[in-house]
Amino acid sequence: MPTRARPRARQAKAAPAVRPVSKPARPDVELLRVLSNAAAVSGDEGAVRRMVLEAIRPHVDEVKVDALGNVLAVKRAARRRAAPRLLLAAHMDEVGFMIVDHDTDGSLRFEVVGGVSERVLLGKAVLVGPRRLPGVIGAAPVHLLGSERLEMVVRPGQMRIDIGAGNQDAARRQAAVGERATFATEFAVLEAGEGGAMALRGKALDDRLGCASLIGLLRGGPYPVELHAAFTVQEEVGLRGARVAGYAVEPQAAIALDCTPANDLPDSRGRENTQYNARLGQGPVIYLADARTISDRRLVDYLRRLAEDAHLPYQIRQPGGGGTDAGAIQQTRAGVPVVSVSVPARYLHSPAALARTADWENSFRLLTLALERYDARVLKR
C-alpha cells in the first residue's frame, strides 16, 4: 500500500520533487498484522528481519544486515547536497521465552527473555521454535487446589510448556534447547463502526508498531534528509542493537520509534491515577526523560511545534523509568542528539497489547512531518 502524505502548501514549494499527494498519511494495518504475528524473541529476530527486508527493498537506496542482525537502510534525500543525516530506529525483537530443558514426561522447561510478568503466563498458548509448534503453559485445575494455592503466584520455574510430546526423547526432537517461544496471540482489529478500525490487539505491538511506522516512512518520501533506518535487535535485553547501529550510521540526530506503556487504568480505591506514564487516545508520546536518556530539547521543541501547527494531538510521557533505543544511540561515538516518539499501548510484554488506531495514525503523521520539515536549523536553535 503506498504511503500518502498530508497536503502541505509550504513544503510543496520547498521540495517540488516530492510527488503531489492529497490524502493524509496512514500506516498499514495489514503490515502490522503480519509483523505482530511473527515471532522474533531478542537474539532470534530472523523472521521479522526477513519481512522488513522484503518490505523496504523497493523503497531504499541501500540496505544491509550488520554483524548483530540489525537491518540498516538508507533512503537518500530528494536533493542530496548537504542533506542532514537523520537516524530513525525501531526494534524488531520482542520479549518471550527460551527452551532450556526437557522433563521426562516431555514437557518443556523455559526461561523468560526480557521483562515478562510471571502473572500473565499460566493458561496461555505459545508457539515454539522456527516451525511454530503450538504449545500451552499448563495450570493445575481449580478443583484440585485449595483457596490458598489459588492465591499464590506461580513462578516461571514451576511452569512447563506442553507441546504434547509425551516423552523426553520426542520433546528433544521437536523443540531443542535454545529454541525461542512466543505467545500465540493472533492480531485482531476492533472495528466499532463510525470510522472503521478503532483499536488493535496483538502480541509484540512493542515494537512492531514502530517497525510498521518506519517501513511506512521508507515507502514515502524522499525527504529533505538522508534518512537512515535501523530496525534493531536485542532492545528488550539492553538496547544492544541500537548501540552498534548508532555507531555505524553516525547520524546528526536520531529518533527512536517505540511503544510506551499506557498505565492509564482506574485505581481500584477510587484515587486519581497520577502515574499513568502515557494515556491511550491522547496521541503520540514525546519523551523528555527516561532512565536511559534525557531527550534533546531542540528535537522535543521541534516535534511539539510540528504537532501544534498541524493540530495533531500529542502527549509528553511522564518522566520516569524505562528506556528506548534512543538511550543507546545518544551515547554512540561523540554523542548524538536524540528523542523518542512512541505509540501509547496498554499491556506491553503480555500476550495481548492494546493500542488505539488513531494514536498510531497521529504518531505516523507527526513522524512524516518531522522528516518532511527537517533541516539543519532544527539543531542550531
Binding site: K124, A139, V153, R160, R201, L265, S268
Partner: protein
C-alpha cells in the same frame, strides 16, 4: 465411522454457550445430531435431546447419555470509564485470567483482553498474591463513549483462545469441559447408525452444569430414563498436576470409569465388561463422594435412576487451553455405542446391587 473428531471438537468448542446462555452451542449440536437421530427437542430450560428409537415394542426402556454443553465464562458487572468489571460464571481460575483473550458479547462482539492493573493502582493487601477477579478489568481498547454504546451490565464475556493442535493428535482449546464429551456423544450416535437398538437412546446436552447441575436433574425428570450415563471430563495428568498424580489420568488412556456412591455398582460392572469385550482401554476413577458431574443430580431424579459416569481426561481444566487426546473422545463414543447396542429386554432385570 465418518465423524471427523478433530473438526467436530473444534466446531463445538468455538461458540460461547456460557451457563444459562447455551444457544450458540445448541445450534452446533443440533446440526450434528439431527441427521443421526429420529426426534429432537429442546426443553424449557434449554437442555437439548435427540433420540434414536429402538425396535422393541413400546414402552421401550430408555438410556440417557448426558453431557453438559454449558461453558464457564464471565459477565459484565459494570462499566468503569474505558473498562469493564466482570463476575464469574462457573469456576474461573483467577491465576490464568491476566492477559487472556476474551470476546465481550455486547451490541456487537468486541475483541478484548482481561488485565490486572499495575500494583500501584491496587490496595497494598492485594499486590503480592494473585489478583482477585474483583480487581481485574476487561479492556476493549474503545474510548469510554463508544464503549457505553456497545457494552452493558449483564453482557457475556467468553474466552477467545482459538483451538491449537498439539503433537500426537491432542487438541488444546477452551470449553473442552464439556464439549469434548458432547463430541463423544456424536461419535456414539454415528457408531449406532445402521445398528439395531432395543432401547431408546437419548443423547442429551444439558444446561447449567457449571453453576449447579441444573439442567441434569430437570431433564432426567422429563425423560424418565431407566439408566443414565453422565459423560464429563476428568483431570489429565501432566507436569502441573504431578503432586495430585493419584487423582489424574493419562491422556490417551481411554475413558475413566467412575466408581463410587454416584455410580450404580451393577452398571459400573456392565461398562467394565463392555469395554473389555470391545477391547477399549479404560482407567478407573475413584469418586468417593460427589462425582462433580450431572450424575449427581440425575441419580436422585424422580424415584432414583441407576447412573454411570464416564470421564475423558483433560489437562488444564477450566482454563482456555484445556488439552484432550482425540482418541479418548473416539473411544468414549465407541464405548457408549457398544453399551447402548448391547442393551436388551433383560438388562434391567439383571441389574442388581449386592
Amino acid at each position: 465411522m465418518t465423524v471427523d473428531v478433530l473438526a467436530h471438537v473444534k466446531a463445538l468448542s468455538s461458540p460461547p454457550g456460557l451457563s444459562g446462555y447455551e444457544e450458540p452451542a445448541r445450534t452446533v449440536i443440533r446440526s450434528a445430531w439431527e441427521p443421526l437421530t429420529d426426534e429432537q427437542h429442546a426443553d424449557r430450560l434449554g437442555t437439548y435431546w435427540a433420540v434414536r428409537r429402538g425396535q422393541g415394542a413400546p414402552p421401550r426402556p430408555r438410556l440417557m447419555l448426558a453431557a453438559h454443553m454449558d461453558a464457564i465464562g464471565l459477565m459484565v458487572t459494570r462499566r468503569e470509564g474505558e473498562f469493564l468489571r466482570v463476575a464469574n460464571i462457573g469456576g474461573i481460575d483467577p491465576r490464568v485470567l491476566p492477559g487472556q483473550l476474551v470476546t465481550v458479547h455486547g451490541r456487537q462482539d468486541l475483541p478484548a483482553v482481561v488485565v490486572a492493573p499495575p500494583p500501584f493502582l491496587l490496595p497494598k493487601a492485594k499486590r503480592d498474591n494473585v489478583t482477585p477477579l474483583a480487581e481485574l478489568l476487561v479492556d476493549t481498547g474503545l474510548p469510554a463513549e463508544r464503549l457505553a454504546q456497545l457494552a452493558h451490565t449483564g453482557d457475556l464475556v467468553s474466552f477467545a483462545q482459538p483451538p491449537v493442535e498439539l503433537l500426537n493428535e491432542q487438541l488444546a482449546a477452551k470449553s473442552l469441559d464439556n464439549r469434548a464429551s458432547v463430541a463423544a456423544l456424536t461419535v456414539c450416535l454415528e457408531a449406532l447408525q445402521g445398528r439395531p437398538l432395543v432401547w431408546d437412546v437419548y443423547a442429551v446436552a444439558t444446561v447449567q452444569e457449571e453453576v449447579g447441575l441444573r439442567g441434569a436433574g430437570t431433564s432426567a425428570y422429563s425423560l424418565q430414563p431407566d439408566l443414565a450415563v453422565a459423560v464429563d471430563v476428568t483431570y489429565g495428568s501432566d507436569a502441573a498436576t504431578r503432586e495430585f498424580a493419584h487423582r489424574t489420568f493419562p491422556l490417551g488412556g481411554g475413558p475413566a470409569l467412575g466408581l463410587g456412591p454416584n455410580i450404580h455398582a451393577g452398571l459400573f460392572a456392565a461398562f467394565k465388561a463392555c469395554a473389555a469385550r470391545a477391547e477399549i482401554p479404560y482407567t478407573i476413577e475413584a469418586m468417593p463422594g460427589h462425582s462433580g458431574t450431572d450424575a449427581f443430580a440425575i441419580q436422585v431424579a424422580r424415584a432414583g435412576i441407576p447412573t454411570m459416569v464416564l470421564s475423558i481426561p483433560v489437562r488444564n481444566m477450566h482454563t482456555p487451553v484445556e488439552v484432550v487426546a482425540l482418541k479418548d473422545i473416539a473411544r468414549t463414543g465407541r464405548l457408549l455405542a457398544e453399551f447402548a447396542a448391547s442393551l436388551d429386554d433383560q438388562f434391567m432385570a439383571g441389574l442388581t446391587l449386592d
